[in-house]
Amino acid sequence: MAAASPSVFLLMVNGQVESAQFPEYDDLYCKYCFVYGQDWAPTAGLEEGISQITCKSQDVRQALVWLPIDVTFKSTNPFGWPQMVLSVYGPDVFGNDVVRGYGAVHVPFSPGRYRKTIPMFVPESTSKLQKFTSWFMGRRPEYTDPKVVAQGEGREVTRVRSQGFVTVVFNVVTKDMRKLGYDTGPTDTQATWGTSPAQGLPH
């Protein structure tokens, strides 16, 4: 089509939810979804995903999730840049499926390969008694919608406890950002290696 003046820019994200480090828990599975602003629309790929149940092995004490992400967004406005919301679930001692952590991270802005370690947390019970009963009943406090962790509004009313980490690898490609006047990185085309590019390379 008219490639001369694009009216949207594209953001392609792929990668995978690599692993989850939850020292205390096992048999976890992970859900992810994207939260984005009104000017964004997914054009291809899956916006949501749910992983298999992963068990920790004896030597690597972390759950390898290896859940691929592949989604492409189009947008007219960087406002509301997509955020990936992760939520991890697993069975508790009684076998009830309870939430093990929520976390969110922005998709990196500039193209490149990124490995992000996302801290995960869960909302706390409002009282000790509730904590006990929720533990006993297997109904831990959960967010009404996992997407609230991607918004700042209203978080002041909650108390959370950190649980573990999830490592996500993003490969980000953008298209037409620069043409629309958004400069997000040193170069659009030149690849940068990792988060801290090496300063000098010996010949």
Binding site: S5, D39, P123, S125, R139, P141, A198, L201, P202
Partner: protein, 1615 residues
């Protein structure tokens, strides 16, 4: 004894005279008095001794020496006097045990006797006698002497305090050399013979020492001594002891032979304890510590600030605190590491800024508007991500630094043997020598000296006469000065050369001896000294000439100097003489006036300080001078004739092979071989590469020879090499870091010289072989003296340069560093906060600020600023005098406001952000303006425009229009509030959490476990609620289940004669009285049995969708059918807010299906049936959708709204058919229908706002309401309890404030002046005529807003609460007992009714319909009662039941009704929010008439519109008849006129079959009227010859309340 005492006193007196000078003003009378009282004039032996040091240091420095020689050794540790030494008395005391105490007692006894004597002689002498010791005990120790004494008792205890230790040592030293003098004093002798001595030889000895000391001391001074003893014991004790002593005295003889010690009971006095405590506890003094204590000995305090060094302001510490700290530090940590050179505690500069960063607020009044205007500056694209980043836009983005690392030499290494150390030293020295030799400065200076001397020679010869004498003199003088300078330099250089040479030789000799000693060689180093022969004679001559020249020059210099000095001397002498004279004069003057004011003395002080007589200088002696010169020459210069020594260092020597070396050396060599070294190259603190690992050579050199090309993006900030060493296979250890300088931009590859950078490491290595290690002391000497500590060190030879690109351009990044450094430095300084960024540009201002703020120029923090100020040139620039709050705001504006407004995109973004309804859900706002359609804004702009224009089209009458506009505005403001409140979250909004189960729930859940899986009688389970967002059109359905109806009006036979008795005008008394009105149909007999009375069916219309049931038969039909109607949300928006504002009603219409035989021809009757179905509207039930939405289901029996006149129908009862029901049913009027309405799926109703509204109520009251509500909710969670409500401005108001007697319109009162009941009904009717508008519709999602009655009347819209409040207020005004009933009713749900008390019964009024019900009326729509609200109290229903049928309304019974205001919380007399009285304007009748015409016209047009395929004819005659009839209806309120009317109509329209009915409504808008007419379905008749009649009547009530009557009829001409 007495004579001695006398003597002592006298001596003491002499002393006191002297002492008093110093002790002026320090005495304390009180103490003295005390002293005098207790004073025993005898001096105890120990006091005698103690006295000496007390007196010593302070006031008799001269006398001190001889007297206190026993202490002087310890007391004088340094040049400064140290704190006074503790007295020997303490030691004595410490060692005395029981025996000592006895003696004390004895003394006390004696002293008592003495004091008795003394008291007889009233002289001031004792006082004077006491004073010195007293004073000293205070001043010197700062503690009372008693304490000191006690302290020493525990000398043997180990004590940490150095002070005490010091004293101990002092005591020991003192006691040892002490030789007891041979003669004991009388007391001593006495003691000796009277006491039993314990077998303690040592103590005895010391005792004797004491005695000796005492006697010695006592000879010249015993003054004041006894004082201490007094202090040692308390008064009581003294008394006791005195008695004891007496006993002792009496029994002395026995004592001696009995060996029985009679001792007092063990008792330790409070003082004693205190003293012991003091012993244990250290209380630092608050007195200032003298500086000398804090500094090492013989060190003068240095004040760095005076020396020009920067010292920051010390943090503020209170002086006493500081003193205490210093005292403590001195005692606890005597290492004195705490104090700086100036004798103060080391402290960092105070981090607190002295000035606030925020500038003071400017005084008002200055018009700065012009300056405050912001200007748009286009945002500049920011190129660099960081300051040091080289622009990514730069095409040639790669720059290169080449680092050439050629090698590494260790100048010291842990594996160095001793020989290596020496070799390294030698090599170093040799290098130095070579360097010096190359420069050969001495030679150069000598040449220069010669040249200068020549110049002077020529200058002195007057060969150049053209030069003036003065100039010559001047030049010669300069030359001479230079000669002197040069000579000194040359001498120094020569001396250095010589010493260097000497050192080299010395080291070489050492090395040789070492090699011999250890019998092997480690290094190939070899020094060869080459002698260069010189011509001895010439040399000597030159030497001599040189010396002569020097001497002559020196002589000359000295002569000049001498003259100068002479002159100085003369002047000084003169001055001195003058001073001397003045001095003499002054002395004379002084003698005359001894009492000179002190200030004059100070004036004269300076001349006094004048130094003594000046000494005349001595002329210099040539011989002496020559001697000096020769000596110096001998020292620094080569002797004449001596051969020149040239050292040459070579590596020609051979290293002893391993097998000839001792084992330790072999080990060392092996260790060296195992070691390897590599370098890491760090660029900007990041490792970029490393060299290969190379083995360490035996000569400790490593050759790398590697070149690293660094391609860089960032400007190099640091280049570092890290030297790593690996031993064997262990991991590498970092030896040292070498910082390489970043090359100048001019240095490019190929041009860079190889440079050496030294490094050194501070690691400590000890090796178990020959290697000397690093950081460990070792020595070359056999005895281990002369130790050396060497650290690992070395040199890296390298070169750093910029690379050159292919085309010869050096790959150097653009130089932009200076600016950045400059700016960052500025940031650090505080200037920005002080004068703003704009001020920074103005150097003048900056400089001014710097001077004003007294910037310390020495502070390294300020260095860049000071530099900037000093460098900066003054440039005029504009500086505003105002302070800008957000001074950088402008920088963040990426476009100007105009552009922001002009751009459609930005506008769209802004509007969306503001959550403007039209744009709230706008998705994907286009990137470019051109892609945004103009029409996007059209709706919005239209709305904005319309806001100010009153739309008269819909409303017809202007008042309603303004009200509508006002309502709209209120709604908007409330919605804005709501939108804000929506952003306030509660925990439950975010987190789903199980509630803590209480016992009942637990029990239930336990019970559930035992429950059957498939119970026989299943229970209804709650449906799943659906959040509204995910819905779309067609998903939501309205389910209406029509079950049955009762008492449907039945057809009256068309040609019947009416003899029905007119219904007597029933009063409400009759209605409630539950007496069945016996209007039994007399004509029921007319109907033939089995004739169908009525064939009703139900039609439900909602949002213009119509469904109907099948037709049933009879007045009590049963349908039991479910109808399904689709629901469409406005604009497809299924959000909660949108659903709440749906104003549509569900109309449930009941029709009678009438079949007419239309067969024209009777002949065809046998062959076919031609019937026409007509349907006649009988009544309707109207349920607002909002009710269904909030109730989620509506279930119950509703009264059908049947028009007052239903032509052709009558409410008949067939006694025959339904006799059984009659008694029950006939209790009430009207027909009923049983319905069940719900939505599928169930929608989640919007929640009301929980925002806590602000209030003007008393805080206590609010708390009480909360408490009350909580208590009520605990007991009966389902009952509505209302104590506070929110008024229209959003404030919380206590509910009783709404109730207040208010006058109803006069007009209504005058209608039935004698009939209060009728008046009440009329008033209720008036209230019901005010249109009903639920709050949820007007204020979507907001809780109930209560408007006051005047607001309600102004708005002419409100929901149940407003109606109820108004009605209640009217009733109160009418003198009734009235309450507001909060409860739930059908179909409204939670609502408000009005309860009145009539003589002996209660009436329940529905304020919205104007109907009233008796308490026991089964068809009363009010189903439960939560609370009652009166004008001064609130009562909550705490009865078991809440149905009005079953409860007692007597609020005075506290068991049944819980009242809010009670005895504990009396009614505070809340003022009402209602106005004093309501003012009613008479409605404009003409306007009403006009409105009536317009409505009629509109309705007629509508009916014609609804019948597009048929001709609509209007029967004018009928219309006029109806029009006349309607006012009658209004007057009678729709009752009792039916029969007359029917008769009249029959008379007039006899040949028409007539079906029609009047509709009565409150007027709010036209639209509901149209809807109502439409729902009756009058227009649906499609009989060809049908005619219509439509009449509208509007009856105006005061305050623009309009009652609308619409009479619709269809007429079919019957043949």
């Amino acid at each position: 004894m007495n004579p001695k005492e006398e003597k002592v006193k006298i001596i003491a007196e002499e002393f006191t005279e002297n002492e008093e000078d110093a002790a002026v003003g320090r005495r304390k009378k009180k103490v003295q008095r005390q002293q005098r009282k207790k004073q025993p004039p005898t001096a105890g032996p120990e006091e005698m001794v103690s006295e000496t040091p007390h007196l010593g240091p302070q006031q008799e420095p001269g006398q001190e020496e001889p007297k206190t020689h026993l202490l002087s050794t310890t007391a004088r540790r340094g040049p400064r006097s140290l704190p006074p030494i503790p007295s020997a008395s303490r030691t004595g005391f410490a060692e005395f045990s029981m025996r000592e105490r006895m003696r004390e007692k004895l003394q006390a006894a004696r002293s008592k006797a003495e004091s008795a004597l003394l008291q007889e002689i009233p002289t001031p002498r004792p006082r004077r006698l006491r004073s010195p010791s007293e004073r000293e005990s205070e001043t010197e120790f700062g503690t009372e002497p008693g304490k000191e004494v006690r302290r020493t008792q525990q000398d043997d205890d180990s004590q940490n305090y150095s002070k005490v230790k010091f004293r101990d040592s002092g005591r020991k030293i003192k006691s040892k050399p002490q030789v007891p003098p041979g003669f004991p004093s009388p007391e001593e002798a006495y003691n000796f013979f009277t006491f039993n001595f314990d077998p303690e030889p040592e103590e005895e000895r010391s005792e004797e020492e004491k005695a000796g000391a005492k006697t010695r001391g006592g000879a010249d001074q015993e003054a004041g001594a006894p004082g201490q003893q007094v202090n040692t014991t308390a008064d009581e004790e003294e008394l006791l002891d005195g008695r004891e002593a007496e006993d002792l005295l009496l029994g002395l003889e026995h004592m001696a032979d009995d060996f029985v010690a009679i001792r007092p009971a063990e008792y330790e006095s409070v003082h004693h304890w205190l003293q012991k405590e003091k012993e244990m506890l250290f209380v630092p003094s608050r007195l200032t510590v003298p500086t000398y204590k804090k500094l090492p000995e013989n060190v003068q305090p240095r004040f760095l600030e005076d020396e020009g060094l920067y010292i920051g302001a010390r943090p503020e510490v209170a002086r006493t605190t500081g003193n205490i700290m210093e005292n403590r530090l001195l005692v606890q940590e005597p290492e004195r590491g705490w104090f700086g050179d100036d004798g103060r505690i080391l402290a960092l500069p105070s981090p607190i800024k002295p000035f606030p960063s925020r500038p003071p607020v400017l005084p008002r009044g200055q018009s700065t508007a012009a300056e405050l205007e912001t200007l748009y500056k286009k945002a500049v694209k920011y190129v660099h991500r960081s300051q040091h980043m080289i622009g990514s836009g730069d095409p040639s983005g790669n720059f290169q630094v080449d680092i050439d690392i050629s090698g590494l030499i260790f100048t010291h290494h842990p594996c160095f043997s001793r020989e290596h150390v020496l070799a390294a030293k030698l090599a170093q020295l040799y290098d130095q020598y070579l360097a010096r030799h190359q420069r050969n400065k001495a030679k150069f200076l000598t040449d220069k000296l010669h040249a200068l001397r020549n110049a002077v020679q020529t200058g002195l010869n007057p060969e150049k006469p053209q030069q003036s004498l003065e100039t010559t003199q001047k030049t010669i003088k300069e030359y001479k000065a230079e000669i002197w300078q040069t000579r000194r330099l040359r001498d120094a250089e020569q001396e250095k050369d010589r010493t260097l040479l000497k050192t080299i030789i010395k080291v070489w000799k050492e090395m040789k001896s070492l090699r011999e000693f250890q019998r092997f060689t480690n290094t190939p180093l070899k020094l060869v000294l080459r002698k260069e022969k010189v011509d001895q004679k010439a040399d000597e001559e030159a030497f001599e000439a040189e010396i002569q020249a020097e001497i002559s020059e020196l002589l000359e210099e000295h002569r000049e100097e001498y003259e100068q000095k002479m002159e100085e001397y003369r002047a000084a002498h003169q001055q001195w003489k003058a001073w001397k004279r003045a001095q003499r004069a002054r002395k004379k003057k002084k003698k005359h006036a001894t009492e000179e004011p002190p200030d004059e003395e100070t004036e004269e002080a300076p001349p006094e300080e004048d130094p003594g007589k000046p000494v005349p200088p001595e002329p210099t002696d040539r011989a002496v001078l020559e001697q000096q010169v020769r000596e110096r020459a001998a020292q620094s210069r080569r002797r004449p004739g001596e051969p020149t020594l040239v050292p040459e260092l070579s590596l020609a020597g051979s290293v002893t092979p391993n097998d000839q070396c001792p084992r330790v050396e072999v080990l060392r060599r092996e260790d060296v071989r195992r070691r390897s070294v590599y370098l890491k190259v760090l660029f900007n603190n990041k490792e970029v590469s490393r060299t290969v690992s190379r083995q360490l050579g035996a000569d400790f050199r490593v050759h790398f020879g590697q070149i690293f090309n660094l391609q860089i993006f960032n400007w190099p900030e640091s280049l570092t090499l890290q030297v790593y060493e690996t031993v064997g296979h262990s991991s590498a250890t970092l030896l040292a870091e070498v910082f390489l300088p970043i090359p100048e931009t001019t240095v490019v590859t190929g041009r860079a010289p190889i440079e050496e950078v030294e490094f050194s490491s501070n690691q400590h290595v000890t090796l178990d072989h020959e290697g000397v290690g690093s950081g460990v002391p070792f020595s070359f000497e056999a005895d281990g003296s002369n130790q050396l500590i060497l650290m690992t060190s070395g040199k890296v030879s390298h070169s750093v340069a910029w690379a050159i690109g292919e085309n010869g351009i050096p790959l150097i990044p653009p130089l932009s560093q200076q600016n950045i450094g400059f700016r960052s430095a500025l940031k650090r300084a505080d200037a920005i906060s002080s004068i703003g960024t704009s001020g920074l540009a103005d150097m003048k201002k900056l400089a001014k600020w710097a001077t004003e703020s007294k910037l310390d120029p020495n502070d390294p923090n300020n260095a860049p600023l000071m530099q900037l100020i000093s460098v900066a040139t003054s440039g005029e620039s504009y500086v505003p005098d105002f302070f800008r709050l957000e001074q950088l705001q402008q920088e963040f504006n990426f476009v100007s406001d105009e552009e922001l407004n002009r751009s459609k995109r930005f506008r769209l973004l802004q509007l969306r952000n503001q959550e403007v309804p039209e744009f709230r859900n706008y998705k994907q706002i286009p990137v470019y303006d051109r892609e945004i359609m103009e029409k996007v804004f059209q709706d919005y702009e239209k709305r904005l425009r319309d806001r100010n224009v009153i739309e008269t089209k819909d409303h017809i009458d202007t008042h309603r229009a303004t009200v509508a506009k006002y309502l709209q505005q209120v709604r908007e403001s409330v919605i804005n509030r709501f939108l804000i409140a929506k952003h306030h979250f509660l925990l439950t909004d975010l987190v789903v959490e199980e509630e803590v189960p209480n016992i009942s729930i637990l029990g239930l859940s336990l019970f559930k476990l035992a429950e059957q899986k498939r119970p026989l009688r299943p229970r209804r389970k709650g449906r799943k609620k659906v959040t509204a967002q995910s819905l779309s059109d067609g998903d939501v359905k309205l389910l209406v289940n029509i079950i049955r109806a009762y008492d449907i009006p039945v057809r009256t036979p068309t040609p019947s004669k009416f003899q029905q008795p007119s219904r007597s005008s029933r009063t409400f008394v009759e209605k409630h009285a539950a007496s069945p009105s016996t209007h039994s149909p007399t004509h029921s007999a007319d109907y033939p049995l089995g004739q169908v009375l009525v064939r009703p069916f139900v039609e439900v219309s909602f949002q213009r969708t119509i469904c109907h049931t099948t037709t049933a038969e009879g007045p009590n039909p049963s349908w039991n059918e479910e109808l399904e109607l689709p629901f469409r949300a406005p604009n497809g928006d299924y959000s909660t807010a949108s659903l709440q504002s749906v104003k549509d009603d569900v109309f449930i219409n009941i029709f009678d299906e009438v079949l007419y035989d239309v067969l024209e021809d009777d002949r065809e009757r046998g062959r076919g049936i031609h019937t026409r179905i007509e349907r006649h509207w009988l009544g309707c039930v109207k349920i607002p959708f909002s009710t269904i939405y909030f109730q989620s289901r509506i279930d119950g029996t509703f009264k059908i709204d049947i028009p007052p006149v239903l032509l052709g129908y009558s409410k008949e009862r067939s006694m025959m058919i339904e006799r059984g029901f009659d008694s029950v049913r006939s209790l009430s009027e009207g027909s009923y229908i049983t319905l069940f309405i719900t939505m599928e799926p169930q929608l989640v109703p919007g929640e009301s706002v929980r925002e806590k509204f602000d209030s003007q109520e008393d805080e206590k009251l609010l708390q009480a309401t909360e408490k009350f509500q909580a208590e009520c909710a605990l007991k009966f969670p389902n009952r509505q309890c209302l104590t506070t409500v929110i008024d229209i401005s959003g404030k919380t108001v206590f509910i009783t404030r709404y109730l207040r007697p208010l006058n109803p319109p006069e007009e209504l009162l005058t209608v039935y002046p004698s009939n209060p009941q009728a008046t009440a009904e009329l008033v209720a009717r008036y209230v019901s005529l005010i249109p009903f508008l639920p709050d949820t519709v007007s204020f979507a999602g907001i809780c109930d807003l209560w408007s006051t009655s005047d607001q309600f009347l102004d708005l002419l819209a409100g929901d149940e609460e407003e109606h109820a409040v108004l009605l209640c207020n009217y009733f109160l005004s009418l003198g009734k007992k009235a309450w507001l009933v909060m409860g739930s009713a059908i179909p409204e749900g939670p609502t408000a009714y009005v309860l009145t008390w009539e003589q002996n019964h209660y009436l329940i009024w529905n304020p919205c319909s104007g109907h009233f019900y008796g308490q026991f009326d089964t068809f009363c729509p009010l189903k439960s009662v939560g609370c009652l609200i009166g004008p001064d109290n609130v009562w909550f229903n705490i009865q078991q039941y809440d149905s009005p049928l079953r409860i007692n309304f007597d609020v005075t019974k506290p068991k049944l009704w819980k009242s809010f205001f009670s005895r504990s919380l009396p009614y505070p007399g809340l003022s009402s929010v209602q106005p004093e009285e309501l003012i009613y304007q008479c409605t404009d009748k003409a306007a009403a008439a006009e409105l009536q015409d317009r409505i009629e016209k509109i309705l007629k047009e509508k009916i014609m519109d609804w019948r597009p395929r048929h001709l609509t004819r209007w029967n004018r005659y009928c219309t006029s008849t109806l029009r006349h009839f309607l006012p009658l209806l209004e007057r009678s309120q729709g009752e009792d006129v039916e029969d007359d009317h029917r008769a009249e109509l029959l008379k007039q329209l006899g040949d028409y079959r007539f079906s029609g009915f009047p509709l009565h409504m409150a007027y709010s808008e036209v639209k509901p009227l149209i809807e109502a007419v439409y729902s009756t379905g009058v227009h649906n008749i499609d009989v060809p010859n049908v005619e219509f009649a439509l009449a509208v009547y509007i009856h105006p009530y005061p305050k623009n309340v309009l009652s609308v009557w619409i009479y619709v009829a269809s007429l079919i001409r019957s043949r």
